[in-house]
Amino acid sequence: MTKFTKISVAALLSSTMITSAAFAAPNVPEGTELADDQTFTYRVLDEHSSVDPQVVEDVTGSEIVRDLFEGLMNQDADGNLIPGVATGYEASEDKQTYTFTLREDAKWSNGDPVTANDFVYAWKRAVDPALASPYQWFMELMSIENAAAIIAGEMEPSELGVTAVDDYTFEVKLSAPLPYFPQMTTHATTFPAPQAVIEEHGDDWTKPENIVSNGAYVLTEHLPNERSTRERNEMYWDNENTIIEKTVALVINDENVALTRYLAGELDRTEIPAGQYPQLSEEYPDQATSFPRLCNYYYTFNVSDSGPEAFKDVNVRKALAMAVDRDIIVEKVMQGGQPPAYTFTPAAVAGFEPPALEWAGMDQAERDQMAKDLLAEAGYGPDNPLEFEMVYNTSDDHEKVAVALSQMWKSKLGVQATLANMEWKVFLEERGNQNFEMARGAWCGDYNEASTFLDLLDSDSGYNDGKYSNARVDELLAEAKTSDDTSPLYTEVEEILNEEMPVIPVYHYAGVYMLDTDLGGWPVDNVEQNWYSKDLYKIAE
């Protein structure tokens, strides 16, 4: 394959010495013969926003940053926490102080040791108003002492609750006992930053010629809107277990072009366009892959004052939710193995027990009948048809779902739903200001815990676009912030949501990829899809 990767020649020359070492790598199954060319090439939709760990805000950029930098903790193939730069951590009794012990053999790519001071610098940098990172809120969410005040400009960044006890001991003080704090240290914003390099080069420090990083890879090439390349970091502490020599991210905006280029052998991984999975999995059963993701897809009612009167009636909301044939959406529209959604939180979320919902067990004909009855009860029928406008942002897939939904409602309930698509920024603005009747929504978890989804429906949440408000939900969510056993709380929230139906859950996302058969180690069970090139390997064909 890879006819055109001229670059592969270089990799070929240097590969012999790695092959022997690679057999020792813990994650490669016994007896696997590794390929000579250990280059992994994948498609990204868009140019990444940045490779500065404290600044990066998009998925594409975070993938690169996870290879270039290493934080306190990493995730394994199942999404469990494993040591990164820290070998482990200890929490105090009150769970408000965390002490991380750092490994002494961790090095920056220029040979300098990685110390606790690098983390202190990075974390203070992340909250510094002068850097103005869009991810400042993440540090605030981590409940680090004084973070909120620093961000608001009321305190100096130096007052952040982080200290380097010694070179290899990093201590964090929290303002509240956050149960999932350690999980949050796998996020790019918390990765260390090389102070000396940043001070020397300023904003240009992330350019390939300047950048110094502590992860398994270093950035060697960046051609904006075309490709970025990262290559093995010889200084990385676990370098001997790293197999992939070079990872290339190719920017391909059009998913159909990406698939064509994948089929032509230019890529090892690409997304499968909606609707093509069944055909591809028949043709390429070893390559077409689908697995659950931590994302939901829903339509939200505007229940605020600016919303239509009809949506204030719970029967109307329920009727519309019932009449959605989710099996058609997932099996005939998306066709990528997405699970149909009856709850807001995906079932794949760790520690979340979906409640047993009556209507989830019914067949669609029963649901449709219920929907008709509910709508009739609400006073809508053939002589008084329900009419509303549903908005979604411009995209082929969203359009398909919206058309299918509106046609379901039309044919089953006689409901007239007008479609309106808006360009992304306009959509966000209108939705955020409650200038809509019904709007598409989707959310991907920031961390593997139900609150990352359910917090959206908290009355005070900035993301609560439908302005749904329920005192009991708020109470339960507040309780979950400090509780040891959160699972029953989240289940109860979902039960309330099911009774009140402020949003229509449609489906939960699946990662639907073509993964080349010679690519090994892809963490399909990591629902957050936090993958690291160092855990991958290419198998000889």
Binding site: V333, D396, E423
Partner: protein
């Protein structure tokens, strides 16, 4: 971008400018005869007429509406969605299981309307603007034309994108934004024509007879502009359709459930590798047919109105 041929149009219009002012019916009549003797143009008129006829009476034969989903076949488009007389989907199904026959008819109607209304908008604005600038002349003229020059320097794609992004999408905005960028060249052509016309004897005569300036503009200059205007407008129609299809490609075109040929083609082109080529070929056929016939009609009009021996 696709307004590229406007320069050519300007050139063509220059040719027409050589026409002697209309002296009654004979010249237009001659032009009509010349046009009817142009085989390619006449064939194009027939083809275009058939397309319009199809758009008008086609819906009578449709067994599905343009937004209805065929629930039984959706999800298996590649194997069950091909064109078939038996199941009433004469042109097959689109990606979502909607009847392509009805959608193509609706899209063709939209694209023709975009072409005609877009061109008409450009024509009205451009003619008025150019006529006023050229007739009033002097400082007003140079200020007005400087303004056009500035607008011409702004990349058209940007203007259209910004228009649609800012003002939101609707049929109306689409026509406005297309018209807004199409009138510039039109106004330049009309102005040049007006400048040469206003020194002619018959205008002088009218003025000496005490006819008001506005009346001169409308009664005496405007009729003499018809030749140029028709030629340029006929060239604008395909340009408008091409531009609309580009806008649709960017995802800024018309909203569902309505569609345009450009949008259908963009969808069909995206999935052409997956064994559903009919989704590309039917809309493409109508699209290419309209564009080509409009080109030939435009050329035919130009030749007909240009008495130069060729």
């Amino acid at each position: 971008m696709v307004f590229g041929s406007s320069q050519k149009a300007a050139q063509l219009a220059d040719d027409v400018t050589d026409v002697i002012p209309v002296k009654g019916r004979s010249l237009l009549h001659d032009a009509y005869i010349r046009f009817t003797h142009n085989k390619a143009a006449m064939a194009s008129v027939v083809v275009l007429g058939l397309i319009i006829l199809f758009v008008l009476i086609g819906p009578l034969f449709a067994q599905w509406s343009n937004e209805e989903i065929d629930w039984d076949r959706m999800g298996n488009i590649a194997t069950e969605g091909m064109p078939s007389i038996a199941n009433g989907h004469f042109f097959g199904l689109d990606e979502l299981g909607r009847d392509l026959y009805s959608r193509v008819i609706q899209a063709t109607r939209t694209s023709l309307m975009v072409g005609l209304i877009g061109a008409a908008t450009a024509l009205i604005i451009g003619t008025t603007y150019g006529l006023v600038a050229g007739y009033v002349g002097g400082r007003v003229d140079s200020a007005m034309m400087r303004f056009v020059d500035i607008l011409l320097a702004i990349p058209l794609t940007l203007v259209i994108i910004l228009f649609l992004v800012i003002a939101g999408r609707s049929f109306f905005m689409l026509f406005v934004s297309l018209g807004a960028v199409g009138w510039l060249t039109m106004s330049r052509i009309v102005r040049a024509q007006t400048l040469s016309l206003k020194t002619r004897e018959f205008i002088e005569a009218a003025r000496a007879a005490g006819v008001s300036e506005v009346t001169i503009m409308i009664r005496h200059i405007l009729p003499n502009l018809i030749g140029v205007v028709i030629v340029y407008a006929s060239l604008l129609v395909p340009e408008m359709i091409l531009t609309e299809s580009f806008i649709s490609f960017l995802g800024l075109g018309i909203s569902e459930p309505y569609t345009s040929l450009g949008k259908l083609i963009a969808e069909g082109a995206g999935t052409m590798a997956y064994g559903t080529t009919w989704q590309l070929l039917y809309p493409l056929f109508f699209y290419v047919a309209i564009i080509i016939t409009m080109f030939f009609i435009g050329d035919g009009l130009r030749d007909a109105l240009d008495p130069k021996d060729r």
